[in-house]
Symmetry: C2
Subunit: 317 residues, 2 copies
């Protein structure tokens, strides 16, 4: 199994145009989707009594939905920097995507964002029912730790343990779930600027940061390298959110393919709204430079990650 991306494309990446990068992203997304499909098939696994078909169908609906698989992509590309074993990196990437998808299923619930559609398809609680959507999310979150801790993820046990710990921290009370809780309260009590930064670092930043750091962990990178990738992840996590805010602020529904102005309508303060479009674009530029600088020690090997940073900042949908 190739690790995808880096290995799959021979010509110098710096010269590649953005469409080429998007092709690469799509190629990796396909490989991740294959792995997810295999992990969510109907065969029983050791230690399981039964995989209830109905629940599994809901999990598949929430996961196999044509997502961009940006987090797995970042994980796989970070892992490739350190010549990590590709099969193991792919399993960890799939586990990370399970966590991301569980969070979308729960976020879409009537008690949360109450969304009927995601990527043009009915959300899980619409396609099934609310109880099944809650359980499908729970099962996906649980399964992520199963996948990583499993000996089939061929990494030394201390590495698997470390990945479980870091994923749990990134996803939990002090990370993604905590950020979601802050976001719910933000609708009633608008946070100040520091509060917005904190909320976003938790809600969307923590998992993107984990993606990049996890690649280094899977690859057995040194502590400074791990720290470097973690900082890279933090920078593009910020860029990801800022680009999102900017799209909400400036794009039309026609160009992004979904409703815009949702943040404004919900009374949610964003940094882009607070400081304006020009400021946000300057910030984004700064974050991309910062991300690129962090990758300097890896030279040409990090070309795809550099493109990823630009892609995240410049995306138009």
């Amino acid at each position: 199994m190739t690790l995808g991306a880096n290995a799959a494309i021979a010509p110098p990446m710096e010269e590649a145009t953005m469409p080429a990068f998007e092709e690469l992203l799509a190629l990796t997304a396909g490989a991740v989707e294959d792995m997810l499909r295999r992990l969510l098939d109907e065969r029983f696994r050791e230690g399981e009594i039964l995989r209830p078909a109905h629940l599994l169908a809901a999990m598949r609906h929430g996961v196999l939905n044509g997502g961009k698989r940006l987090r797995p992509f970042l994980l796989l590309e970070s892992a490739a920097l350190f010549e990590a074993p590709g099969a193991a990196a792919m399993r960890v990437a799939a586990a990370l995507e399970c966590v991301h998808c569980y969070s979308l299923i729960h976020d879409d619930l009537p008690a949360m964002d109450d969304d009927d559609l995601r990527r043009g398809q009915p959300t899980v609680h619409r396609a099934f029912d609310e109880a099944t959507a809650i359980l499908a999310g729970d099962a996906l979150l649980t399964y992520a730790f199963d996948i990583i801790a499993d000996g089939e993820t061929e990494l030394p046990a201390p590495v698997r343990s470390e990945l479980v710990l870091r994923l749990a921290r990134a996803a939990g009370l002090g990370g993604m779930v905590g950020g979601q809780a802050l976001d719910l309260r933000a609708e009633k009590e608008p946070p100040d600027e520091a509060g917005i930064v904190q909320l976003q670092a938790m809600k969307t930043g923590a998992l993107i940061r984990f993606a990049c750091e996890a690649g280094a962990i899977v690859g057995g990178a040194s502590a400074p390298d791990r720290e470097r990738l973690s900082s890279f992840g933090a920078a593009i996590g910020l860029a990801f959110q800022l680009a999102d805010d900017l799209l909400d602020l400036t794009a039309t529904p026609e160009t992004v393919g979904k409703a815009t102005g949702k943040d404004r309508a919900a009374g949610k303060a964003t940094l882009a709204a607070l400081h304006g479009e020009a400021w946000a674009r300057r910030q984004l530029k700064g974050l991309v430079s910062q991300a690129e600088e962090l990758l300097e020690p890896y030279g040409e090997k990090a070309a795809v990650l550099r493109q990823a940073a630009r892609f995240v900042a410049e995306r138009t949908r």
Copy 2:
């Protein structure tokens, strides 16, 4: 730190009366509650950005509720058989209780059992709101894996990995969550006897079985010992469910302190309802004998676990 139970009480346990056992259970519950209180305090932990106070309060509400802590008790007593390090066993026991409590929070939600009270207190979605209850459950489930994988749980990394894997299997799609999904469908399509057995083995059995097996894993027990404790856990898991069914069938609300006849009212088939009270009592007796036989190799050291088996089968509330 003593492991509690076994160490704390000197006189021969076989002679102890049931009230003495209940005291022992309560003593351990206090120690588990202390650990949970410490794990859910307001200090940040490494790798966390912030612990949102509101979400943490909801988690505490769902966990620090005076539960019997039966699963942690079984884990600690199983661990004591193999002279496991007490502090590590206590952390794993607390993690297991986090998973149990998360499942109660989600089960109580309007979309599931729609319960307003648990142990005489408002359920989490009543005391807070539905979105916060969903997130508190998510955060507790995630935190359980954090606690186990953390190096502060002083066990070799392969043991921590194995515990994460077994807990994820017991709690997930092929275990507790899968059982809950089957239970939801059982209201519409009543399962046959084999279906009921399977549902219960997943919904309540898997976590009780894990409790006993995990004790052996924490204690570094041999594979046959691990298998033996796992079988013990399976037997008392069955007994636990059967005793529960029997209470629902025969007890009055006055004696059990909660509504009875709920299974019948919900049209849920139980084995006790299917075969009658006399059959259920015979079965329970058989399960206790089977559980006691499984503990034979451990002699007096397993006295408390033998009492636990009887307690589970004979409980009147």
